[in-house]
Assembly symmetry: C2
Homo-oligomer: 281 residues x 2
C-alpha cells in the first residue's frame, strides 16, 4: 500500500521503518529538511518532503498523523484541500476523546489510533524497527466508523506485529489516565517535593543517597514537559478522576502509619505485591 | 581481621564475599543450616553455624548484624553474654534513630551503619561480589562513639569500594524517608488505587495496556511487604513528614490541572525534568 506519515519523530519514523520493510511505499512529511533526509537515508520512507502538498496526487491509501497532539486537528484541516476524501486517516495521539469526534466530523474515513510503545529517546534518530512488536496498538472506532476503513487499517497494524485492540475513545482515555498519565503526575510530584525539602543539608545528602528506588519512581516525572502538559490538557477529566482516587488511597496509607495500624499496612503491601505482576508483562 | 556476620542474606552474604576476597576471616551465623552450607560453598564465609554461641572465643574484631530490623536489638542482648565487650558491633538496618541510641546503651563499641545497595532478589543465593562498589555506605557515629572503633570500621567499608559517609542517625532517617521510604508508599498507592478502580472493564484493559511507565513507577510498591512495614514502623515520624510535604505538592498539581493553569504545570514539569538528574548517578 501507499502510506503517508506526517511527523517523522520516534513514532512516525519507527512506523515507516516497519512498513517499508514489509514492502509498503511510505511518503513522509516533516517540517525539518534534515529530518526528511535522515528518514530517507535510514529507509524509514520512500521519499520525504517538508511540504504537506507533496502528498497530493501520490495516490495514498492511508495517512498517519504523527505530529504533537496540539497540531493534529490543524494539520487535518489543511489536508482537506490536499488529499482525496476517500483517503483513510489515523493518528497516534495518547488521548482520544479530545481528538476523535472533531476529526470524524472533518473526515469521514478517520479512525483514532494509539500505538503504546516508546523509548527514552525522541526524534528520527531514535526510530527503530519492531518498536511496536508485542506492544498494544489501540484503535478507537465509533459508530460512525466505515467498516471498510477499519478493515484496511487493521492489517497494517498487524504488519507491525503489534497487538491490536479496539476501545471507545472515552474508555481508552480513562485507562491511559490510570496507567500512563497518573504515574507522570505522582512521579513529578516526588521530584518536586524532594527538591523542595527545607533542610539544605538533607537535600544535599538526598542527592548523594538516592538509589534505584528513587530512580525508577521518578523516571516518568522527569520526562518531556510538553507531553506531560498535553496529557493533563487533553485528558483532564479522566486524569482528575484517577488523581482523586489515588489521593484517597494515599490518605489511607498515611492514616495507617499515623495510627500505627501495621497489620492494615502489611495487608495492603501484600496485596500490592500480589497485584503488580498482573500489570507487568 | 576476624569478622562475624549474623544473618546471611543478600547483604550479609555479599559483605562476606567481598571481605573474604580481601583476606579477612569471616565467621557466619544463620538460623538455617542450609544457608550456612551455601554460604560456605560460595566462599562468603570461612565457616558458618546456626548457633550464635559459635562466635564465642573466635577472637572477632568486628561483628555485623544483618538480621531483619526487628531482630537487631534482641540479638545484641544475647551477644552480651557471648562476645567480649571490646568487640566492635555494627548493623546494616535502613533506619538508624530507632536502633542506635538503644544499641549504644547496650554496647559501648556499637556504630550504626547502612550500606545502600540491593537487588530485586533476596537471600544468600542472591549475594554477589562488589554489590557495594561505588554505592553509599552510611555510618552514624554519635558523641558517644569511640574513635578507635570508628577507625577500625572505616577501612573495612573502604575494602568494599563503597563510598563511606558519616551522618547523625536523625539526618540519615530524614533523608532515607525522602529518597527510599516515601517512594515505596507512593508507588504502593499507585498499584492499590489502580487495582481498586470501579469499572471492571477498565481494570481489565489497564492490565493489558500498562507499559514501562507504570512498571517503573510501581516497582518499589510491589516489593517485600515486611520491609515496607518496617520502614513505616521504625521511621514513622520522618516518613510522615515527607509524606505530608508530598501530598501538599500533589494537591498543587491537581489544582493546576483543575484550574487549567497549563503554564504553571509546564514550569513545574520543566523543573522536575531539570532537577531529576541531580539525584541520578
Amino acid at each position: 500500500m501507499k502510506i503517508g506519515i506526517i511527523g517523522l519523530g520516534l513514532i512516525g519514523g519507527s512506523l515507516g521503518l516497519d512498513w517499508m520493510e514489509q514492502g509498503h511505499q511510505v511518503w513522509g512529511v516533516s517540517r525539518q529538511e534534515q529530518t526528511c533526509q535522515i528518514a530517507e537515508e535510514r529507509g524509514a520512507v520512500y521519499q520525504a518532503n517538508p511540504d504537506l502538498e507533496s502528498l497530493a496526487g501520490a495516490g495514498l491509501d492511508l495517512v498517519v498523523l504523527c505530529t504533537p497532539i496540539s497540531a493534529i486537528l490543524a494539520t487535518m484541516e489543511r489536508l482537506v484541500g490536499i488529499l482525496p476524501s476517500e483517503t483513510i486517516l489515523t493518528d497516534v495521539a495518547s488521548v482520544k476523546a479530545a481528538i476523535v469526534p472533531k476529526a470524524e466530523a472533518m473526515w469521514p474515513y478517520f479512525i483514532g489510533g494509539h500505538p503504546m510503545a516508546g523509548t527514552a529517546e525522541q526524534g528520527i534518530q531514535a526510530a527503530q524497527s519492531h518498536l511496536f512488536r508485542d506492544r498494544p496498538y489501540v484503535l478507537t472506532p465509533t459508530h460512525q466508523t466505515q467498516a471498510e476503513a477499519l478493515n484496511e487499517l487493521k492489517p497494517l497494524v498487524m504488519d507491525l506485529e503489534a497487538s491490536c485492540l479496539e476501545m471507545d475513545p472515552e474508555s481508552h482515555d480513562a485507562v491511559v489516565a490510570w496507567i500512563s498519565h497518573l504515574p507522570v503526575m505522582i512521579s513529578a510530584s516526588l521530584i518536586a517535593a524532594c527538591w523542595g525539602q527545607s533542610d539544605p543539608n538533607h537535600l544535599q545528602m538526598s542527592k548523594r543517597l538516592a538509589s534505584t528506588g528513587f530512580q525508577d519512581t521518578s523516571r516518568v516525572g522527569g520526562g518531556n514537559p510538553e507531553l506531560g502538559v498535553a496529557m493533563a490538557q487533553y485528558n483532564q477529566q479522566a486524569l482528575l478522576t484517577a488523581l482523586g482516587d489515588y489521593q484517597d488511597q494515599l490518605d489511607q496509607i498515611r492514616e495507617m502509619i499515623e495510627q500505627e495500624n501495621w497489620l492494615a499496612l502489611r495487608q495492603l503491601l501484600e496485596k500490592t505485591q500480589e497485584h503488580r505482576p498482573y500489570f507487568i508483562k
